[in-house]
């Protein structure tokens, strides 16, 4: 896959420039060449919208709505001296360590999956509305956040309402097939994916979008795309990114939008695998059109395709999930009386889980009266988003291709989704949780269950109460690597996953813990790793305080076991899952503060040490480690136990790795954060304090100069004298000059070289040259 090379060539690198960085503004390459390397970036508003949407998506971190005002603020006011001087941030921002953005993100990532299956008439109706993907594409964005609160009853009968509950609509056998690194592991498990898919795929030349995620290199490529975009468009068109750059250190180290994006894509499109059941469908929407001559018969046909036909899932997926029947009525051509009649017949046949969805047939255009843009999907897999970016980059038209829908359709779909989730899916899951809790878990947990699990190991006592247990020493099919869907282990895992998705973390934790020992006895290593991972996550997600003793004794061992078993067991390692368990543990541990943050940082360096990720993600995680250390602020006036210096070290490391990746903005951000951390002890009025080591100061100065050079090279000569951009650059350079002047030391001359224009004399000197040059460019 070589999308980067053809569509968006990287800016040319000039090694010579990096060495003689101080003179960079002069010897930069000719403007024309650097312009030629940026084909569509500034000229394609639809593409910009795509990047912007992801940027603002991750900008939702403040959770209290502060994202909206900052996004809508006009750039000039952001850069005004006032907002620069009050470096303490907007009042809406949460203090470090309290923002639970990632906790919410994790909760919203593990949600029930609902398969979507529709007949041809429905698909045609929806394609007529301009949605190539059919019903699935129509429903997908609406499932991500169910409107209104969803009330869930947990295992002890206490109800709790959640405002951010959602479901994922997936194709009937999406998610099958593992990421490429694991493909071919179990060829027998793959079902043939031909035949009519529930949803069409967006056609693209080089990237074939797959709705299943879990492909780390692709995720990194996507983040790289976003980074590159921000790098080039930082100042003229992307207020969102620039806010980040401008934000005070606390929020900055808390979350980089790119890290949020990475995490989100890591958790999007969970693959359908035997060792966890999150991606197994909890329910399935089966839709027929009212135009269909025989809707009931068609529903039966679709059902049987799913039950034992070409869409049947492998045997480790339980097939008896909830079926939800939908009659799609066309408001314009259909006859509502007839549809009502059909709907009544459906209700008689299939019971309560039915819905009549009334949609308008014709295509809607943006200029229509009550047209609403189809919301963007937040949880799409990396390959889908890459394909979309690529499609828009190569497309000629500058219009936004997102389809528009009439307002009434949107309302109808929202009502439908709400009804589906609140009245069918959640009660269905609750019922199963309590049923399995009584029938499977209680039996396993009781005296006889303990005895049974012992007798499984010491076969002479083989219990005859459960045939599947006594028939062999274990239910685990070690050859194919899975448990049958009906085995008690599978059911318990499903119980645990259901309660995890319903956010009953206590029940989930105890179930995972039992499963862990069972899987360990069966030597089902991947299942064992999965149970350990989820046990750790559910222990960390519970709101109850966690003593540091339980944390070090249980949680850390679980994380260790999960990552070890994912990475090192058998021939087939699953780095994706290892990365997922480590990354999520980092975030959750970090929220617990103090000593847990130390552990988080340790797991972060584990990710880096074990080469789980490529360069981009490595830089992101380096930044994260710094953020983990920065959470520990210490106690008392002496701030004992703080990890300020550690955080600064990792910030420097992150800056260096960003610099090596040619990401000047990110590097600069990290460097600024590091300097702020280093100066935290000193008198705030005396910002010109130098670093303790002359070598450190020299290193940082050199790095900063190189970054400055890189940034100028990257941005070339964009900005045709707009006042806003000019002001930004001026103020940025002034800021730098402060820190550069801040070093009253003798080493600089020898280290940076004689070619350097004396920074003390003219902090604006590179800028002056630049602006002159820019004027020249204009005259040419």
């Amino acid at each position: 896959m070589t999308p980067l090379q053809d569509a968006t060539p990287k800016p040319p690198k000039y090694p010579a420039d990096l060495e003689a960085s101080m003179t960079l503004p002069k010897q930069r390459a000719s403007p024309a060449s650097s312009l030629a390397s940026l084909p569509y970036r500034r000229s394609n508003p639809s593409l910009q919208k795509l990047f912007e949407s992801t940027a603002s998506l991750s900008g939702s971190r403040a959770s209290s709505g502060s994202a909206t005002p900052t996004a809508s603020v006009v750039p000039t006011s952001v850069f005004s001296p006032g907002s620069r001087l009050n470096g303490t941030g907007t009042p809406n921002r949460l203090p470090p360590g309290v923002s639970d953005e990632y906790r919410n993100l994790i909760q919203r990532a593990f949600v029930p999956h609902v398969a979507v299956l529709a007949d041809t008439e429905t698909q045609e109706l929806i394609r007529g509305k301009g949605l190539e993907g059919g019903l699935l594409q129509l429903l997908r964005p609406f499932g991500e956040l169910v409107p209104g609160k969803v009330t869930i009853r947990d295992s002890v009968g206490a109800s709790r309402s959640w405002g951010d509950f959602g479901v994922r609509f997936v194709g009937s056998n999406d998610g099958l097939g593992l990421p490429p690194s694991q493909a071919g592991r179990n060829p027998g498990l793959r079902v043939s994916t031909d035949g009519q898919r529930a949803g069409g795929r967006i056609s693209s030349s080089s990237i074939r979008p797959r709705r299943v995620g879990g492909d780390v290199p692709l995720i990194e490529e996507l983040v790289e795309r976003h980074l590159q975009y921000s790098e080039f468009n930082a100042h003229d068109s992307m207020p969102g990114y620039f806010d980040q750059n401008d934000a005070p250190v606390q929020t900055e180290s808390n979350s980089s939008p790119f890290y949020s994006l990475f995490l989100k894509r890591l958790l999007s499109g969970l693959p359908l695998v035997p060792h966890e059941t999150f991606a197994h469908p909890v329910a399935s929407v089966i839709a027929v059109s009212s135009k269909n001559p025989n809707p009931i018969e068609e529903l039966r046909k679709l059902y049987s395709r799913q039950n034992d036909g070409d869409l049947q899932l492998p045997q480790w997926v339980e097939n008896q999930y909830l079926r939800y029947y939908v009659l799609v009525h066309d408001e314009e051509t259909g006859d509502i009386a007839k549809s009502n009649q059909t709907f009544d017949a459906m209700k008689r046949h299939f019971g309560l889980h039915c819905h009549l969805l009334r949609l308008k047939g014709q295509q809607c255009i943006p200029s229509d009266d009550d047209s609403v843009r189809l919301p963007t999907c937040e949880w799409i897999s990396a390959s889908e988003e890459l394909a979309e970016i690529q499609k828009r980059e190569t497309a000629d038209d500058i219009t936004d291709p997102t389809p528009y829908l009439p307002d009434s359709d949107i309302t109808a779909i929202r009502t439908f989704v709400r009804e589906l989730v609140a009245q069918s899916v959640v009660p269905h899951m609750e019922r199963h949780v309590s049923q399995w809790n009584e029938q499977v878990l209680a039996r396993r947990r009781g005296i006889s269950g303990r005895f049974m699990s012992i007798s499984k190991r010491w076969t002479p006592f083989g219990g005859n109460r459960n045939s599947s247990v006594s028939s062999s020493s274990s239910n685990y099919d070690s050859h194919a690597g899975f448990y049958q869907a009906s085995s008690p282990e599978s059911l318990m895992r499903k119980l645990a996953d259901y309660s995890f998705m319903l956010r009953d973390f206590k029940l989930a934790l105890s179930t995972y813990d039992i499963l862990r020992t069972d899987f360990n006895n069966d030597k089902a290593w991947r299942h064992y790793a999965g149970a350990a991972e989820m046990a750790a996550l559910s222990a960390l997600l519970t709101t109850a305080p966690l003593s540091s003793k339980t944390r070090t004794e249980n949680v850390d061992t679980w994380i260790e076991a999960a990552s070890y078993n994912y990475m090192n067991r058998q021939q087939n390692t699953t780095p994706y899952y290892a990365l997922r368990s480590l990354a999520l543990s980092i975030e959750l541990l970090r929220l617990r503060g103090s000593s847990a943050a130390d552990a988080a940082a340790r797991w972060g360096s584990r990710i880096l040490d074990s080469n789980l990720v490529g360069p981009v993600a490595a830089a992101l995680f380096t930044e994260r480690v710094s953020a983990c250390y920065a959470v520990r602020t210490g106690v008392g006036s002496l701030r004992l136990g703080s990890r300020r210096r550690k955080a600064a070290l990792w910030s420097i490391l992150a800056a260096e790795s960003w610099f090596r990746l040619d990401k000047a903005l990110q590097a600069e951000k990290c460097l600024d954060a590091a300097l702020r951390l280093y100066n935290a002890h000193f008198d705030p009025a005396d910002v010109v304090e130098s670093l303790p080591f002359p070598q450190m100061q020299a290193f940082i100065d050199e790095l900063r100069n190189e970054i400055l050079g890189l940034r100028l090279a990257n941005r070339g000569f964009e900005g045709s004298g707009e006042d806003g951009a000019e002001g930004v650059e001026q103020s940025l350079v002034v800021e730098e000059a402060e820190t550069l002047d801040a070093s009253p030391r003798a080493h600089r001359k020898s280290l940076i070289g004689a070619v350097a224009p004396p920074m003390d004399v003219g902090p604006l000197s590179p800028m002056l040259e630049r602006s002159e040059e820019r004027r020249d460019d204009q005259f040419e």
């Binding site: 040490d609 250390y629 004992l640 136990g641 703080s642 990890r643 300020r644 210096r645 550690k646 600064a648 070290l649 420097i652 490391l653 002890h681 303790p692 080591f693 070598q695 450190m696 290193f699």
Partner: protein, 184 residues
């Protein structure tokens, strides 16, 4: 095996830095840091002060008496940090970078130095172990010698250690080098 030794004042400024290699088992006493490692060393040493402070003010492991020698306290990648703390809160920090072979990175079977050498190599195969008794003892002897020289230096009435005077005395440097040669 390469070492970087730094004395930190109570306000975290370096008063003295010295870089050397092992002189044991045929070592020539020259530090073998790569350029990037050398650039990072000050950062690593400085960042380990976080841990020093924590150990210093945290719960004492030896009942009653607070030890001056804090032993191995921190690690960054392949760099191990040991610390000695004086009564005036001056920190001696020693960064140890074992050879790649001693870390099990390369399959080399050379004998290491005494610190992390014989006993360190003896236990778990060839892997450097910062907490092995021999390593700790060697580092401790080094610190004790340096501490003695340090005391003599700060007894100089013209040396204002409180105001962050950098140690410039060549005698001090040779004494430190001698201690390094003797024990590390």
């Amino acid at each position: 095996m390469s070492y970087a030794f730094t004395i930190f004042s109570p306000i975290d400024t370096p008063l003295f830095t010295h870089e050397f290699g092992t002189s044991r088992s045929g070592g020539d006493g020259i530090a073998r840091f790569t350029t990037s490692e050398r650039a990072l060393n000050p950062f690593i040493l400085h960042s380990s002060l976080d841990i020093v402070e924590e150990v210093q003010w945290g719960l004492s492991t030896s009942a009653g008496s607070a030890p001056m020698y804090l032993k191995h306290i921190d690690k960054y990648q392949n760099c191990y940090i040991s610390c000695w703390i004086t009564g005036a809160n001056v920190r001696f920090v020693l960064l140890t970078r074992p050879r790649d072979e001693a870390l099990g990175l390369n399959a080399g079977a050379q004998r290491g130095s005494l610190a992390g050498g014989r006993a360190g190599l003896g236990a778990g195969g060839q892997v450097y172990n910062p907490t092995s008794p021999a390593t700790e003892e060697a580092v401790k002897n080094f610190f004790v010698d340096v501490y003695e020289v340090w005391l003599k230096t700060i007894m100089n009435p013209f040396f204002h250690v409180g105001s962050g005077d950098v140690v410039k005395s060549p005698v001090f440097r040779t004494r430190v080098a001698a201690a390094a040669k003797k024990y590390l």
